[in-house]
């Protein structure tokens, strides 16, 4: 049977072509990164360039792990990002619960103060904090990357407060009658109801900590303390012309985050749609 192509079908086909073009453009740098990371020193500079190398040279990856402190960088980043995320979620949700459900004097004023501080750009506090932490003996330790991040997350409080506020009081009232303390109500009733919001905030927090560059750049000095972005930076400084090695290092730095994103992307999208979280 002969089918006539409708105008909509034609339009959609054109649209698909445009979108595929843009998608290719968006993904090309990643493709090129992987491609270069698998090439030998000679084929890197080959003209015309090939996207899929004739043979895959995995030795670049072995070299990446032998050369700099790539492994310790990964471990440091996993440690910092995980502890910060768990800490942030705990303290932010605790405050968010108090602001949403508990009645105490000045709670609105205090909340407004907390929100207003979100407008202060990080560069203003960067220098005084550096001076303070240096005097505390925290230079070249992970403390400056962890303590402020765990204790200070106005955005997290803001986002989670909205979630707690949307939970009907009926859930906690019965526990209240049973004589549960406020912390018990928060921990065993409210928190489990907020899991989707916690996952979203946690993922964004993990990524932000993983990708954070400026703070480790000013505080960390020894290679063994470096986080992943600093390891990548040190690769750039040490092996500036060895492109296949540099691309392999970038791939290693990006892989954990991209894999995590593949499994959780709907949380990212819904997180932005709900609260406009900055990635």
């Amino acid at each position: 049977m002969h089918k006539k192509i409708t105008r909509t079908q034609l339009l959609h086909a054109v649209l698909h072509l445009c979108l595929i073009f843009f998608a290719f453009g968006t993904l090309f740098p990643f493709l090129w990164m992987v491609s270069t990371s698998l090439k030998g020193n000679a084929s890197v500079f080959e003209y015309p360039p090939v996207i899929i190398p004739k043979e895959f040279l995995w030795s670049n990856y072995a070299e990446v792990f032998q050369k700099q402190d790539m492994l310790s960088g990964l471990l440091n980043s996993v440690k910092i990002a995980s502890i910060n995320t768990v800490g942030t979620l705990f303290f932010a949700s605790l405050a968010a619960y108090a602001f949403a459900k508990l009645k105490f004097r000045f709670s609105n004023t205090l909340f407004m103060i907390l929100i207003a501080t979100m407008m202060i750009p990080g560069q203003v506090t960067l220098i005084p904090m550096f001076i303070i932490f240096k005097n505390l003996g925290w230079y070249d330790t992970h403390m400056p990357l962890m303590i402020p991040s765990i204790l200070c997350n106005a955005y997290g409080v803001f986002l989670l407060r909205q979630f707690f506020a949307s939970i009907p009081d009926a859930y906690s009232d019965s526990a209240h009658i049973d004589g549960c303390g406020r912390f018990r109500i928060y921990w065993s009733i409210m928190l489990p109801l907020c899991v989707p919001a916690l996952v979203t905030l946690g993922l964004f927090n993990f990524m932000a900590n993983w990708n954070n560059f400026l703070t480790p750049l000013i505080y960390l000095n020894s290679y063994s303390k470096y986080t992943i972005p600093l390891v990548v930076m040190s690769f750039k400084n040490l092996y500036s012309a060895n492109w296949s090695l540099l691309m392999a290092a970038s791939c290693v730095a990006l892989a954990p985050v991209i894999v995590l994103y593949m499994f959780t992307q709907r949380y990212f999208i819904s997180g932005i749609m709900i609260g406009g979280i900055k990635g």
């Binding site: 698909h16 740098p29 605790l94 405050a95 602001f99 560069q123 200070c152 540099l246 990006l254």
Partner: protein, 303 residues
């Protein structure tokens, strides 16, 4: 009677318990706020009036840092560069993300897959992706120049050219952030009441009419929000600059935060760097306020 008093007493203790737990629960955030934001902000203001250099004893120098900065050519150069970057970055990222969002808001198949791909660069480390962009832009062996020469076009210097360095950096930022703004626009578009489109369909309006009279006006709050966020983020650009050009060539891409970083952590002139940080702070505040004033004129909040 007795029962009533017990009830009242119980309620009172509960209210007091609430009060106590409330303060206890928010205490960690406020300790953090005091130690890591409020105190440092005032401390930063103090530092800007001193000759703090991490070595010699700290001396109060009054307005010396301010006078030095406002009479130097540095500040104009750095501000000019930052505005150049922002003026390249904002229109680029807003237009690209809006176009992608409009395309993905049609009844086309596979929108989730496209969305996942367009958003991907946003979650990746700028430091790591900057390396591949350095490689792509490489004047001698980079693939961009290989493509240009294959097309018979003259090769370019990109990041090493005075005029092309800033657009090349801005392009990387646009590539990385467009997916994020696209998601915001998709959310905005999906929030538009479909009855508007049904009504205009009856009136026989075409795609362009819908765009001009429904989609864009109804999207103006999102557009406004996106522009503010893009400005605030763009004005603080650092990672791309640090990795791609370090402010070069010949300071052509030295932006505010790059300059703050150099002044504070390369030359340890903490006082001067703090003045720059305050200039940055004030500009961000002013633009946010101006945009909030202007929005009343052209933003439609009926959506």
């Amino acid at each position: 009677m007795a029962l009533k008093t017990v009830g009242a007493k119980r309620r009172m203790t509960l209210a007091r318990k609430d009060e106590l737990s409330g303060y206890l629960f928010i205490a960690p955030q406020f300790i953090g706020l005091l130690c890591f934001i409020l105190f440092p902000v005032f401390f930063s203001l103090y530092i800007s009036f001193t000759n703090w250099d991490m070595l010699s004893p700290v001396e109060w120098v009054g307005l010396q840092n301010y006078v030095k900065i406002f009479t130097s050519a540095d500040v104009r150069k750095v501000m000019g560069n930052t505005f150049e970057y922002v003026l390249l970055y904002i229109p680029g990222t807003v237009i690209l993300s809006l176009v992608l969002a409009l395309a993905l808001s049609t009844k086309i198949k596979g929108t989730t897959v496209y969305r996942t791909m367009f958003f991907l660069p946003n979650i990746t480390s700028t430091v790591a992706v900057s390396l591949v962009w350095l490689w792509i832009y490489n004047p001698d062996f980079g693939i961009l120049n290989m493509i240009l020469s294959a097309l018979g076009l003259p090769t370019q210097r990109f990041l090493r050219s005075l005029s092309q360095a800033m657009p090349s950096v801005a392009f990387v930022s646009i590539w990385q952030s467009a997916g994020y703004f696209m998601v915001l626009f998709i959310a905005g578009i999906s929030g538009i009441d479909p009855t508007y489109y049904e009504a205009s369909k009856i009136d026989g309006a075409n795609w362009w009419h819908n765009m001009k009279s429904i989609t864009l006006p109804m999207l103006s709050p999102t557009l406004f929000f996106v522009i503010i966020i893009a400005f605030i983020g763009g004005f603080q650009v650092f990672n791309e600059i640090f990795m791609l050009t370090e402010g070069g060539p010949a300071n052509a891409t030295k932006t505010m935060v790059m300059h703050i970083y150099n002044t504070a952590f390369k030359y340890f002139r903490m006082g001067e760097a703090s003045v720059y940080a305050w200039i940055l702070f004030i500009i961000i505040m002013l633009v946010t306020l101006v945009q909030f004033k202007l929005q009343k004129k052209w933003v439609n909040y009926d959506a």
